[in-house]
Amino acid sequence: MSKTWLVARHEFSVTVGRLSYRIFAASVPALAVVALIGMVVFRAVASDDDTQPGVSPTSSEPVAVGYVDLTVGPDGRPLFSGHPQQGDTLFTPYADQAAATQDLLAGRIDRLYVFPADYLATGIVTEVRERRAGLRFDSGSGDSALHKFVLANLAAGQVDSALLERIVTPYRIVTLGVSGAGAPADEETDLGEALIFVIAGILYFVSALTASGYLLQSLTEEKESRIMEVLLSSIKPEHLMFGKLIGLGAASLLQMAVWSAAMFGFLMLAPGLISELASELLAVPAPGALLLAFAYFFLGYALVGTLLAAVGAVTTNQRQANNITAVVIVPTMLPLWFLTPMLQNPDGTLARALSFIPITAPVASLARLGLGGMGGLDVAISLSLLSLSVAAAVWLTARLFRSFLLVYDQQLSLGRVVRVLRGR
């Protein structure tokens, strides 16, 4: 096994073995489990309350609604005598309010409405409820069903059945996406690809931050514990740096994988929650989108990781390193500050500039790709500049590694850094 891989394996196993890493990695799955348990408990409570009078059940179960109609229509008959079935809700007329109230209290009906004699003049409908302490769960289903029930009965006989249907349900919106040429586009593919870029952007950002933290911790610990000189007698500084980048990047990716799996599991298991989003996540994205997302993720991590390795090399302790880390991390976050103008104009000058500057390119480009506002030429320029900057960063950091890894207990001198970079 090459020395680089040995270092990578060591860094990975040491980092993954840390208690802090395990707690951090387990935090999202733990939150997902807690959220799932909370939802199950919530549903159980709601379901329990559904058996009580005065509390409406969830929309997926049939709802029994009772009503007392005291109105008299123009034809001398009560206004609400038809259209009893509205979706899952069945409206049952009661002649006597006392009997209806008994059924409500006994749980035989879920709701009870009273249409008074002057309803047409006032529009007032009385809902009879059991007065109880504690929570009361209202679902919109009952109200919506009541709305349709009232409309259907008021308009019955006034209009034909087709118009009546439109009065009760005026519209249903469906969307049609179109491509640049104006042809209808595949909505699922577009959404799936956009999600890939969004996920890659989030993964890049979080893993770059976490891996950089691990990298700085590893380097400064080795400097502080004075093991660096032993390592450098066995391995070249460049190989040591690459090994750390690979190992700590893998540890960070493992953490991301655990978090992603936890979130995915949550989406799958959470009852009725964002099921459409979950199904999009399940869809296999286009290979080109995957390749682009991976390229930006990999090159972005390599650039940020290498620059932070340089920070770890030139600083002598964790505190000093943490102070200088901002020099690398803040520019990385720059596109997030300009997210609004980028969302408004993903192909504008600002968005393009940010996707060409290597340090901001990964976040900016992934955002633009997700928004569908990045052309092939821009992608090529952006990836080329990013690749060149990674190569330059590796070269410069290797120089700093050789010169600074054995510098202990000294103030950081910018002049010395510059001299080393200039080869003096």
Partner: protein, 305 residues
């Protein structure tokens, strides 16, 4: 252990220079170490010892000069034949003893299963068997140093560099390490040994390199150097004061005998014959060779003046 060789030097350096800014840390240093030889590197703090060692091991690059190790420039294979115990010592404090040793051994090219067997053997040899499962941070400083010594030797190096190996160790552990060093020499391993303890150099080293202001100011076998600085003093334990003895320029009482300073041109045996002729009963007569510490102070002191 390494196969003894009597031919080419294990390491050879010629005309090494290294500067840090305006500071000339090492100037025109040349040296060599043969298989089975222990070379002591001595000198005041900041005299260039550690910088020279780092250049020999390719940890830092010289500004000028050449280093040949195992008859070529430094290669990955050559790195795997070197054991280095630096002055600035450290291990992964949060890790246990054996994983520390295994990682460092693997970096030296030793397969994991061989490294494990070697770790067991060395830990037993150094009296650390009962500590193998402990974390480094749970060990005393001395025990941690022994673990690091084990990591230096775990891959059976042919060239070992020990920078202040005994500092902070109790006498028992110093003895253990010295015995191991002697075993290495007997097995033909070339050893470089940097220390401030001249008594250790006298005890262990075949040859010394004395550094001062970045230069080698003394280089040669210990015996030869001591003889070179022996000068004209003799010690004699006898039953009468050496008053009027031939060739004695001055004398003084020294413990149970007398320290005699001979005049120039007077051989020690002439003074001995004169004493015997005077009927003195002589229990002991020896050349008063200076200690390495005295030589060190003399050489470095004269350069300071």
């Amino acid at each position: 252990m390494a196969t003894p060789s009597t031919s080419a030097p294990i390491v050879q350096a010629a005309g090494l220079y290294k500067s840090y800014g305006n500071l000339r840390a090492v100037q025109d240093v040349s040296l060599s170490v043969q298989p089975g030889e222990i070379v002591g590197i001595v000198g005041p703090n900041g005299s260039g010892k550690t910088t020279t060692i780092r250049m020999l091991l390719d940890i830092i690059r010289p500004d000028a000069g050449e280093v040949s190790i195992f008859e070529s420039a430094m290669t990955p294979a050559a790195r795997e034949r070197i054991g280095y115990l630096p002055e600035e010592r450290g291990l992964y404090r949060g890790q246990r003893v054996v994983p520390n040793l295994l990682y460092l051994a693997e970096l030296k090219g030793l397969p994991r299963e061989h490294a494990l067997a070697q770790a067991d053997r060395l830990l037993e040899r150094l009296g650390l068997g009962q500590h193998r499962a402990k974390k480094i941070q749970e060990l005393s400083r001395g025990l941690g140093q022994l673990v690091q010594f084990a990591s230096t030797l775990i891959h059976n190096p042919a060239f070992v560099v020990l920078d202040e190996p005994f500092s902070g160790l109790d006498p028992v552990n110093v003895r253990v390490m010295k015995d191991v060093v002697a075993e290495l020499r007997a097995a033909g391993v070339a050893i470089m040994f940097s220390t401030h303890q001249m008594s250790d150099v006298e005890e262990l080293c075949d040859r010394i390199l004395m550094f001062d202001y970045g230069r080698v100011v003394l280089d040669g076998p210990v015996v030869d150097i001591k003889r070179r600085f022996a000068g004209s003093e003799v010690f004699v334990a006898c039953d009468q004061a050496p008053e009027g003895v031939y060739g004695v320029q001055e004398w003084r009482r020294d413990g149970d005998g007398y320290a005699l300073t001979l005049s120039q041109g007077c051989a020690p045996e002439q003074a001995l014959r004169s004493l015997l002729d005077r009927g003195a009963r002589i229990d002991r007569f020896e050349l008063a060779t200076p200690s390495l510490e005295q030589i060190f102070l003399q050489v470095v002191g004269s350069r300071r003046e």
